[in-house]
Amino acid sequence: MAALLEIAGASKSFGGVFAVADVDLAVEAGDIHCLIGPNGAGKSTLFKLVVGTYPPTAGRIVFKGTDITQAKSFARVAQGMSIKLQAPSVFKALTVRQNLHIALQDHVARHAIGTEEDRLLETLGLTSDAHRPAGLLSHGQQQWLEIGMALALRPVLLLLDEPTAGLSSDETYRTGELVKRLNAEGTTMLIVEHDMAFVRQIATGVTVLHLGRIFARGSIDEIVSDSRVAEIYLGTPHGQ
């Protein structure tokens, strides 16, 4: 069976500088695939190519067997893709419930929205904050709300850009458990992450990007024991 998401020879240049160069990546249905790499490796750019913020300079992106290289973001979302951006970008002036409502109302029957909101609030542990403006939530809670909004779309493929940035170790662990539970329920994940403990907790496969190119790929154990990876990633050998 073909991969759920297939990126073939994707490149993106900004004014002649290649942020992503000739990347091939396949995410199989059921995977939790993690993208790692030092800052400036091209991870976020690659994400933006997948969600359609801009088209690639070269290469192809295929999702569920359909070429979506030129499709706009809303069309990709309609096909079952959903993203949580790196910086929390919840609608700060709206309440938590309204944030979820926006995410839901486009594709959930009107009478079912309330129940679905309650279910998501419960999952996210935000029930008691439902009527607070999202801008007043802690950073961690905003991250969770953002994940909740991405989940509200019931995506086939969920893209998470640094879901644990700014979270405490306990919150990070709970996020990892949430990711695994969602995966068990059938959501495929592509995740950009820095926190290696988190990657170890969840990943079924890891790809390392460096200077816009694929540097290494394999299981988490293969990657952490690869001395070349430790060198580019941390500048020093990585023991853990």
């Binding site: 706009k72 809303f74 309609a78 951006l85 970008s89 002036a93 709206l94 309440t95 909004m149 779309l153």
Partner: protein
């Protein structure tokens, strides 16, 4: 309510009734800008284009076809504004690339400026002199002259536009608009066709501006190139920002304050000459120190946002 009793208080002062009528017509215009900027984040710097063109269209229909029945001309004016705004939206909003706010602001401004220049040199529509002695607006054999009757008509129109806009911004559609002006990219990633939403609101606002333009030219008996140029377009921005963008009632307050001040101060020569400068300074002060406008002095941001659709109703119960 104050607007309803005003004409009874001012029965003997026709000039003031006329002034208040003007305020209400311009308020419709200011609300149309608020729908674009305050609610949808579209910086329309050419809102007068729809106002002016609709004003010209009904003036020409009166002159060349001798027709001014209210059931025909007001819908025509609204359709004119709607169609024109839709065409502009096709170019500015629905292109392949996602337009920046600056691109839209310059595009609408250019449209407004180009129309003013074009009309200034076009003899058929009166060139620089505009069109005057516009045929009076009719309902059956009744003619709306300025004064109490026109005041009532303007008030009714303002109320209808206000209520329709209020309904829109408090619906689920309004919730999307609220999301749109806070974070467009996020909304696109939730599967919304953001640019289509913008084009819809922009067209609707063009329709409201067209209605205001028609009422204006019937009321004044005159429409000129200046009524579709950047000057009036900027006035809409000032009315709205002064009163409080994103509130619907703010633009009405802003229009009233500016028009009443302008009327009161116009007798004083020293100020009249500098009036545009005063307005410019007012705008600068608002943007720098009171971005939420006059209304922001009395209500908090939280209250201004209000509630939307089903989720809003839930929040009142829970």
């Amino acid at each position: 309510m104050g607007l309803i009793v005003t004409p009874f208080l001012l029965r003997d002062r026709l000039d003031l009734v006329t002034l208040m009528t003007n305020v209400m017509i311009l308020s419709i215009f200011a609300i149309s800008f608020d729908m674009c900027w305050g609610f949808s984040g579209i910086m329309s710097f050419g809102q007068a284009l729809f106002f002016g063109v609709a004003g010209y269209v009904i003036a020409l229909i009166g002159r060349d076809l001798d027709f001014s029945a209210i059931w025909g001309v007001l819908p025509i004016a609204m359709l004119t504004g709607l169609a024109l705004a839709f065409v502009l939206a096709m170019f500015l909003l629905l292109g392949r690339r996602i337009p920046s706010a600056i691109f839209v602001a310059l595009g609408t401004l250019t449209g407004s400026y180009a129309a003013e220049r074009l009309v200034s040199g076009w003899q058929y529509v009166g060139a620089g002199n505009g069109l005057s002695s516009i045929k009076l607006l009719q309902l059956g054999s009744f003619e709306f002259v300025e004064g109490f009757e026109f005041y009532t008509l303007a008030l009714l129109n303002l109320l209808v536009i206000y209520l329709v806009c209020r309904f829109i911004v408090r619906s689920q559609f309004g919730l999307v608009l609220a999301g749109m002006r806070q974070n467009e990219e996020r909304l696109a990633f939730l599967g919304y066709r953001v640019q289509v939403f913008k084009a819809l609101i922009f067209s609707f606002a063009g329709m409201a501006a067209g209605l205001a333009g028609a009422l204006y030219s019937y009321h004044q008996g005159f429409i000129g190139p200046g009524n579709m140029g950047p000057g009036l377009s900027t006035a809409a921005v000032i009315y709205c920002l002064l009163g409080g963008a994103g509130t619907l009632i703010g633009p009405v307050i802003g229009t009233a304050v500016i028009e009443l001040l302008s009327y009161g101060l116009s007798d004083i020569d020293a100020i009249r000459h500098f009036w545009p400068v005063v307005l410019g300074l007012v705008l600068l002060v608002i943007v720098m120190f009171q971005p939420s406008g006059l209304l922001g002095l009395v209500v908090s941001d939280r209250e201004r946002i209000g509630s939307f659709g089903a989720s809003g109703r839930r929040s009142t119960h829970g």
